[in-house]
C-alpha cells in the first residue's frame, strides 16, 4: 500500500531518509567515540525511572545487592593480605607457629565465607537484574504495540516501517540491556572506587598518596585523547556516510552506470572517498586505541612507584610487610578500571536515553480521536447509499487537496475513479474508510454521518481489494477467512470458487493449509490478488472498493481477476479505481481526478460531451491523437 500513496503523501514521505545509527567500528569500546545524544537527557531519564516504577522493589534489591557484592569484593583481598603477612611473620619468627596456624586458618575460613557470600549475592544480582530487564522489555514492546493500534493511518503513512520496527527491537533492547548492565556497572564502579580507596588508606596512607598522584595525570590524558578521538570519529562517520551514499547511488543505478560507460569515472570517485575514509578510520581507531596503552603506562608508573616506595617503606620503623605490598598493588591496579568504567557507562547512558526517547516518542504520538458511538446499528440493514456533502480535505495544512466535493451514490451503483498515477485516487478510499478524517463537510452512509458510526462498524461495511495485496503469514484458509474468523470450511471454499482460485489452491500440495511465507512470495502476485478477492467475497460487504490495476499479472490471470471482480460487484455499491475502458464506460459515475482534485464527474457520455479533461484523456489514450 505504501507504494500506492498519493503524490501528496509521497512528497511528505520523501523527506525522511532512513535513520542512520552511529554505530562505528569496534563497538564495545565506547570511550573515545561520540555517543548518540539524547534530546532531553534529564526529562527522559526521569520518565524512564517512572516507567520502570512497577519494578522498583526489585530494582532496589538489585542496587542493594550490588553494593554488598562490591564491598565484599573489596574487603576479601584484605584477608589475603593478613595471610601473607602472617606467613612472613612465621618465616621470620615474629609470630609463633601455633599462633600463625590459628590465625591463618581463621582467615582462610573467613575469606572462603566472604567468597561464598559474594557468589550467592552476585548470583541474586544477576538473576533479578536479568528478570527485571527482560520483563521491562516485554512490557515496553506490548505498550508500543498497543499504542500502534490506537494511532491513525497517517502515522503509518508518514513513517518508514524500518524505523518503527527498529524502535521495537533495537531501541527496546538498548534500553533494557542498559537497565541491567549500566545500573550494576555504575553502582559497583562507584562503590569499588570508594571501597578500594578506603582499603588502600588502611594499608598505607603514604602509598595511597603516591598512587593517587597519578590520578590527575590519568584523567587528563584519557579525557584529552577521548575528546580528540571523538572528533576523529565524527569525521570518520561523515566520510562513511558519503561512502555509503555513493555506494547506494551507484549500486542502485548499476545498469545506468554501465549503459553510459561511466564505470571508471564512478570508480575514481569511489576510490577518492575510500582512501580518505581509510585515513580517517586509521586515525580514529588509533586515537581511541591509544587510551589503553597510555592508561597502562600511567598505571604502570604508579605500580613501579608503589613498588619502590613500598620497598623503602618496608625498611621503615613501622614496616610494610610483603602481604601489604602485594595486596596494595592489587588494589591499585583495580582502581583505574572502575574510573574508566564510569566514563564508559556515562557514554552508554547517552545512547540508552536516546533509545528511550524514541520509545517514548512513539508512546506519545497523537492517537486517533476517541469515539463515542451515537447510534446503534443494525448491520444487516445497510444498503450502501453513499453521499459526499461539501467535503474539504488535505493531507497537510498548506495545500488544499479536495475542496467542496459533492457526490451521491445510490445503492448498487458503480463509481469509476480515473486519472493519472498520483492523482489522488486512493485519497477517496482513505476518506471513505475513515483512515483519514475529513476537514469539513460529511460523508453520509445510509443517511447517517460516517463519523457517527463506530469506526469498526463503519469499516465492516466495506470490502477492499487493492493493488497491493496484503496477506499475512499463515495458511491460505486463515487468510481467506481473515475478515470472518468464524467462517466454515465450506464458506471458504465457496468464496474461493467464486474468486476462481479454488482450482489453483487444490493444486498446491497442502491445499487450503498451505502456509504463506512472509510477504507471501511463494505464490504469484495474481494468485494473491485472487485470494484477496476471495477474502472480500467471504466478508460480504455492502460497499466495495477495488483497485483494478493488474499490470504485473499475465493476461490469463488478469481475465480471471476481472471476472471475479465483476461477479463480486453485482448488486453492490462499488468504488473502482479503474484502468480499463470497459469498466469506466459502464460506470454510473466517473470521477476524473488530477493532482488530488476531482476535476470532472459524470458518466462517460456526459464527460465526452463536456470536451474537458476526460475527453482529452480519452482521446489521447484511446485514439492516440496527441493534442
Amino acid at each position: 500500500m505504501k507504494d500506492n500513496l498519493d503524490k501528496e503523501q509521497k512528497q511528505n514521505t520523501s523527506q525522511k531518509a532512513p535513520r542512520q545509527r552511529g554505530h562505528g567500528p569496534g563497538a564495545g569500546m565506547p570511550l573515545g567515540r561520540p555517543a548518540e545524544k539524547a534530546k532531553d537527557f534529564k526529562g527522559t531519564t526521569k520518565r524512564l525511572i517512572k516507567y520502570i516504577g512497577q519494578y522498583k522493589w526489585q530494582m532496589l534489591l538489585v542496587i542493594i545487592v550490588t553494593i554488598i557484592v562490591t564491598l565484599l569484593a573489596v574487603v576479601a583481598p584484605n584477608y589475603s593480605r593478613f595471610i601473607i603477612n602472617d606467613l612472613q611473620g612465621m618465616i621470620l619468627g615474629t609470630i609463633t607457629r601455633d599462633e600463625g596456624v590459628a590465625r591463618i586458618t581463621t582467615y582462610f575460613f573467613l575469606v572462603l565465607g566472604l567468597y561464598a557470600l559474594r557468589f550467592i549475592m552476585s548470583l541474586i544480582m544477576h538473576l533479578v537484574g536479568n528478570k527485571v530487564s527482560i520483563f521491562i522489555g516485554k512490557k515496553m514492546r506490548n505498550d508500543l504495540r498497543d499504542k500502534l493500534e490506537k494511532l491513525p493511518i497517517k502515522y503509518f503513512d508518514s513513517k518508514q516501517t524500518g524505523n518503527i520496527l527498529s524502535v521495537f527491537t533495537n531501541d527496546v533492547d538498548v534500553v533494557t540491556n542498559s537497565i541491567q548492565q549500566s545500573l550494576i556497572n555504575i553502582i559497583s564502579s562507584f562503590f569499588s572506587i570508594i571501597g578500594i580507596l578506603v582499603m588502600m588508606f588502611i594499608i598505607s596512607w603514604k602509598l595511597t598518596i603516591i598512587a593517587l598522584l597519578i590520578l590527575p595525570l590519568f584523567i587528563l590524558a584519557t579525557s584529552t585523547i577521548a575528546k580528540k578521538s571523538q572528533s576523529k570519529f565524527i569525521r570518520q562517520q561523515k566520510q562513511l556516510g558519503s561512502l555509503n551514499g555513493h555506494v547506494e547511488e551507484v549500486f542502485s543505478a548499476n545498469k545506468i552506470v554501465k549503459l553510459f560507460g561511466k564505470e571508471e569515472e564512478s570508480f575514481d570517485e569511489f576510490q577518492g572517498i575510500n582512501v580518505e575514509l581509510a585515513g580517517d578510520m586509521r586515525d580514529a581507531q588509533f586515537l581511541s586505541g591509544l587510551i589503553r596503552p597510555i592508561m597502562e603506562f600511567i598505571s604502570n608508573i604508579g605500580y613501579v612507584a608503589v613498588v619502590i616506595v613500598g620497598g623503602i617503606l618496608a625498611g621503615a620503623t613501622n614496616p610494610l610487610l610483603v602481604g601489604d605490598i602485594t595486596i596494595f598493588i592489587m588494589y591499585q591496579r583495580n582502581f583505574v578500571n572502575p574510573i574508566l568504567n564510569i566514563a564508559n557507562v556515562i557514554n552508554q547512558l547517552q545512547s540508552t536515553i536516546a533509545g528511550a526517547e524514541r520509545v517514548f516518542e512513539v508512546l506519545d504520538e497523537v492517537e486517533e480521536n476517541q469515539e463515542f458511538s451515537k447510534i446503534s446499528v443494525d448491520q444487516s440493514r445497510f444498503n450502501g447509499h453513499v453521499e459526499f456533502n461539501n467535503i474539504d480535505f488535505s493531507y497537510s495544512d498548506e495545500t488544499e487537496l479536495i475542496k467542496n466535493l459533492n457526490l451521491e451514490v445510490l445503492p448498487g451503483k458503480q463509481i469509476a475513479i480515473v486519472g493519472p498515477t498520483g492523482a489522488g485516487k486512493t485519497t477517496l478510499v482513505n476518506l471513505l474508510m475513515r483512515f483519514y478524517e475529513i476537514k469539513a463537510g460529511n460523508i453520509l452512509i445510509d443517511g447517517i454521518k460516517s463519523t457517527d458510526y463506530p469506526r469498526a462498524i463503519l469499516r465492516k461495511q466495506f470490502g477492499m481489494v487493492l493493488q497491493d495485496t496484503w496477506l499475512f503469514s499463515g495458511t491460505i484458509k486463515e487468510n481467506v477467512a481473515y475478515g470472518k474468523p468464524d467462517a466454515t470450511d465450506d464458506d471458504i471454499i465457496d468464496a474461493c470458487k467464486q474468486a476462481h482460485v479454488h482450482h489453483y489452491i487444490e493444486t498446491l500440495p497442502k491445499g487450503y493449509d498451505t502456509v504463506l511465507k512472509e510477504d507471501a512470495d511463494n505464490i504469484s502476485k495474481g494468485q494473491k490478488q485472487l485470494l484477496t478477492i476471495a477474502r472480500a467475497i467471504l466478508f460480504d460487504p455492502k460497499i466495495l472498493i477495488l483497485d483494478e490495476a493488474t499490470s504485473s499479472v499475465d493476461t490469463r490471470t488478469e481475465s480471471y481477476i476481472q471476472n471475479a471482480m465483476t461477479f463480486m460487484m453485482e448488486g453492490k455499491t462499488s468504488f473502482v479505481i479503474a484502468h480499463r475502458l470497459s469498466t469506466i464506460k459502464k460506470a454510473n459515475i466517473i470521477l476524473v481526478m488530477n493532482q488530488g482534485m476531482i476535476v470532472e464527474q459524470g458518466d462517460h457520455k456526459e464527460l465526452l460531451a463536456k470536451n474537458g479533461v476526460y475527453a482529452d484523456l480519452y482521446n489521447s489514450q484511446f485514439l492516440n491523437q496527441p493534442t
Binding site: 523527506q15 549500486f251 613501579v304 620497598g311 623503602i312 498520483g422 489514450q621
Partner: protein
C-alpha cells in the same frame, strides 16, 4: 575469512612488525611481576639481632630464633635502597619500552586494519561495476550495499582486533605459565587446576546457551515479522476490524521471545559469579599452598614470599587470557559470516566478457538491428526464456514489443546492450555481431530508458548531462524539451540548476522518467530503447513525448516496450511476445486480425468498440 587474508599480503612487513611489537608488549607484561618479586626477594631482608650480654646491646647476627628466645632475639625488616632502585628502574624501563611498543602497535594495527578494509572495499566495488547486471541482480541492491558497508566494517574490525590481541593471548598464557613454573612448581598447582575448570565451565555454558541464543534470534525475527505485517497491512487489518487479533498475535510472540530470552539470561547470570569465584579460588589456592609450604619448611625466605606475590599476578594473567580467547571466539563467527558474504561477491565471475575488437570503435553505425534465430536462457537455467527470435529493425523505424509479464519482451531489449548474452543465434548491428564490438562502443550506440528512472544526486543539468561528456547548455535544454521535461524544469526556481537529491526523491515518478529520457536523448544514439520507459507518464505526456520523438529522432531505431496498447498502437512494427516466442509481428490493425494474444491484450484495455 581465510580467503580475505590475502588482503594482508601487501602489508606483510607491517604485520610482522606488529607481531614483534605484540611480543614486546606481552613480554613487558610478564616481566613486571618478576621484577617485583625480585624487589621483595633481594631488596627486603630480615635483620636479626641477638642480645650480647657482654656489650649489653643487640648485635647483628646471621640468624636467631625469635620464637624460642623472645627476650634475647630481635628481628627487623630492612630494605636495600640500591637494589630497589635497580629493579625499580628496570621496571620503569620495561614499562616505557612496552608502552611505546603498545602505542606503535595501536598505530600499525589501525593502519593495516583500515587499509585492509579499504582494499577489500575497492575490489568489491570494482567487482560490482564490472560483473554483468544479471549477477548483481541475483543478489539485489540492498544486500550488496550492506555487504559493502557493514560486512566490510565487521571484517575490518575483527582484523584490527585480531592483530592486536590474537598473538598476545598465547604469548601471555605460555609466558606466564613458564615464569610461574620457574618460580615454584608447587605454587602453580592451583592455577593448573583452575585453567581446565574455567575452560570446562565456559564450554558448558556455551553448550547450554548457544542454542538458546539461536532461538532468541529466531523469536526476534518472528516478532519483527508479526510487527512488520501489522504495520504494512494496517489498512486491511483496520478494514476488517481485526486489530485486536493482531495485537494478540503480537503478544503471544512477545511472550515467547521473553521466555526464551529469560532462560538464556538466567544461564548467563551464572557465568559471571562463577568465573569470579574461580579466580578467587585460584588465588586463595596459591596462598593456601604457600601456607602449607611454610608449615612444611619449604618456603623460608623473602624469595619465597616474592614468588607467591608474583605467582598470584601470573594466575590472574593466565585466567584472563583464557577469557580473552573466549571473547575472540565469540566475535569470530560474526566476522566469518561477513567474510563469507563478501567473498561471495568477490568471487563472482561476469557472464559478460568484453570480446570486442577496436576495429569498430570508429565505425559509422547506422543502427540496423537484426535478430537471427536468437534464443536465450539465463546462465544457470535450463529452460529458454526466449526462443526463435527473428526480426529486423531498420533505422528510422519504431519497433514496439508487447506481451504479458514473463513473455520476455524486456529480455529482448536487454540483449542489445549485452546485459545478457544470447545463448544461440545471431544478434547483429549493421551486420556486425555485437560481441565483436567493444562493450563501451556498443553501449555508446544505445540510449536506454529503463522502467524505473534512477537519478543521481547533483543538479538537473548534471543528470541530463550524464549522457554526454561536455554537453552544452543548449544540448541539455534541447533534450529536456523533447523529453517534455522543460516545462516543469523551468517552473522550478533554480531551473536547470535545481538540486536533485539522492535517488531523485524530490521528483515525482513522471518527472524522473522524463529526466531519464532526456539523459538518453542527449547522446543522440543510433538505437533508442524504452524499456517500459513511459510507464510513469500520464496519457497526455506519453502521447506528446511520442510525437516529439517522432519529429526529432528520425534516423534512429527506436524500441518501445510497453504495457499500454495506446503507447504502441502507432508503431511501425509491433512484436507480440508470448512465453518467449514471437506470436505476431505487424501493425496494429493487422495484428488485431491475425494475433489472438494481441487482440486479447487490446480487448482487456480498450473494449470492443474502440478496437474496431
Amino acid at each position: 575469512m581465510g580467503k580475505l587474508l590475502k588482503y594482508l599480503k601487501p602489508y606483510w612487513f607491517k604485520v610482522s612488525i606488529i607481531f614483534v611489537l605484540v611480543s614486546l608488549v606481552s613480554v613487558g607484561t610478564l616481566l613486571l611481576p618478576d621484577y617485583m618479586s625480585d624487589i621483595i626477594a633481594e631488596g627486603i631482608s630480615a635483620e636479626y639481632r641477638e642480645y650480647n650480654p657482654v656489650t649489653d646491646s643487640f648485635e647483628i647476627a646471621d640468624s636467631c630464633d625469635v620464637e624460642a628466645n623472645p627476650l634475647t632475639c630481635e628481628v627487623n625488616q630492612r630494605s636495600d635502597f640500591m637494589v630497589i632502585l635497580k629493579y625499580g628502574s628496570y621496571m620503569l624501563g620495561v614499562t616505557l619500552v612496552s608502552s611505546l611498543a603498545f602505542i606503535a602497535l595501536m598505530y600499525l594495527s589501525s593502519d593495516v586494519g583500515s587499509q585492509f578494509g579499504r582494499d577489500i572495499r575497492k575490489d568489491y566495488y570494482r567487482k560490482i561495476t564490472t560483473v554483468s547486471v544479471y549477477e548483481t541482480d541475483k543478489f539485489g541492491t540492498s544486500t550488496l550495499i550492506t555487504r559493502a558497508s557493514n560486512d566490510v566494517m565487521q571484517v575490518q574490525n575483527f582484523m584490527t582486533m585480531a592483530l592486536r590481541l590474537l598473538l598476545r593471548i598465547p604469548i601471555v598464557f605460555i609466558g606466564a605459565s613458564i615464569f610461574a613454573f620457574q618460580k615454584s612448581l608447587t605454587l602453580t598447582i592451583p592455577i593448573f587446576i583452575g585453567v581446565p575448570a574455567l575452560i570446562i565451565l565456559i564450554v558448558i555454558v556455551f553448550i547450554l546457551v548457544v542454542p538458546l541464543f539461536k532461538l532468541v534470534q529466531k523469536k526476534i525475527d518472528q516478532l519483527t515479522l508479526v510487527t512488520r505485517e501489522s504495520i504494512n497491512g494496517v489498512r486491511v487489518i483496520r478494514a476488517f476490524g481485526q486489530g485486536d487479533r493482531e495485537v494478540e498475535r503480537f503478544e503471544e510472540t512477545n511472550v515467547d521471545l521473553t521466555m526464551v530470552n529469560y532462560k538464556a539470561g538466567k544461564i548467563m547470570s551464572y557465568l559471571n559469579p562463577i568465573i569470579n569465584l574461580l579466580f578467587n579460588a585460584v588465588i586463595l589456592g596459591v596462598t593456601y599452598t604457600a601456607y602449607r609450604m611454610v608449615l612444611a619448611g619449604t618456603l623460608v625466605d623473602y624469595r619465597g614470599l616474592g614468588d607467591v606475590s608474583a605467582i598470584i599476578q601470573y594466575a590472574t594473567l593466565i585466567l584472563f587470557s583464557i577469557l580473552m580467547l573466549t571473547f575472540t571466539f565469540v566475535m569470530f563467527p560474526r566476522a566469518q559470516v561477513s567474510a563469507k558474504r563478501i567473498v561471495e561477491v568477490l568471487e563472482l565471475e561476469s557472464s559478460i566478457i568484453d570480446t570486442g575488437s577496436k576495429e569498430y570503435d570508429d565505425y559509422n553505425f547506422k543502427g540496423k538491428v537484426e535478430f537471427k534465430d536468437v534464443c536465450f536462457k539465463f546462465p544457470d537455467a535450463e529452460i529458454n526464456v526466449l526462443d526463435n527470435i527473428n526480426f529486423i529493425a531498420n533505422p528510422g523505424e519504431t519497433i514496439a514489443l508487447i506481451g504479458s509479464t514473463g513473455s520476455g519482451k524486456s529480455t529482448v531489449v536487454n540483449l542489445m546492450p549485452r546485459f545478457f548474452d544470447i545463448s544461440c543465434g545471431e544478434l547483429l548491428i549493421d551486420g556486425v555481431p555485437i560481441k565483436d564490438i567493444k562493450l563501451n562502443t556498443l553501449r555508446n550506440l544505445i540510449g536506454f530508458v529503463p522502467q524505473t528512472a534512477t537519478l543521481f544526486s547533483g543538479t538537473i543539468k548534471s543528470n541530463i548531462g550524464y549522457g554526454k561528456k561536455n554537453a552544452t547548455e543548449d544540448e541539455i535544454k534541447e533534450a529536456a524539451e523533447i523529453a517534455q521535461a522543460s516545462g516543469f524544469i523551468e517552473e522550478m526556481e533554480e531551473g536547470y540548476d535545481s538540486l536533485v537529491e539522492q535517488g531523485g526523491v524530490n521528483f515525482s515518478g513522471g518527472q524522473k522518467q522524463r529526466l531519464s529520457i532526456a539523459r538518453a536523448l542527449i547522446r543522440k544514439p543510433k538505437i533508442y530503447i524504452f524499456d517500459d520507459g513511459f510507464s510513469a507518464l500520464d496519457f497526455r505526456t506519453d502521447a506528446a513525448l511520442r510525437s516529439a520523438l517522432k519529429e526529432n529522432v528520425k534516423e534512429s531505431t527506436v524500441f518501445i516496450v510497453a504495457q499500454r496498447i495506446g503507447t504502441i498502437m502507432n508503431a511501425d512494427k509491433i512484436i507480440v511476445l508470448h512465453e518467449g516466442k514471437i506470436v505476431g509481428i505487424g501493425k496494429h490493425d493487422e495484428l488485431l486480425k491475425t494475433s489472438d494474444v494481441y487482440r486479447e491484450i487490446a480487448l482487456s484495455q480498450l473494449g470492443e468498440e474502440e478496437i474496431s
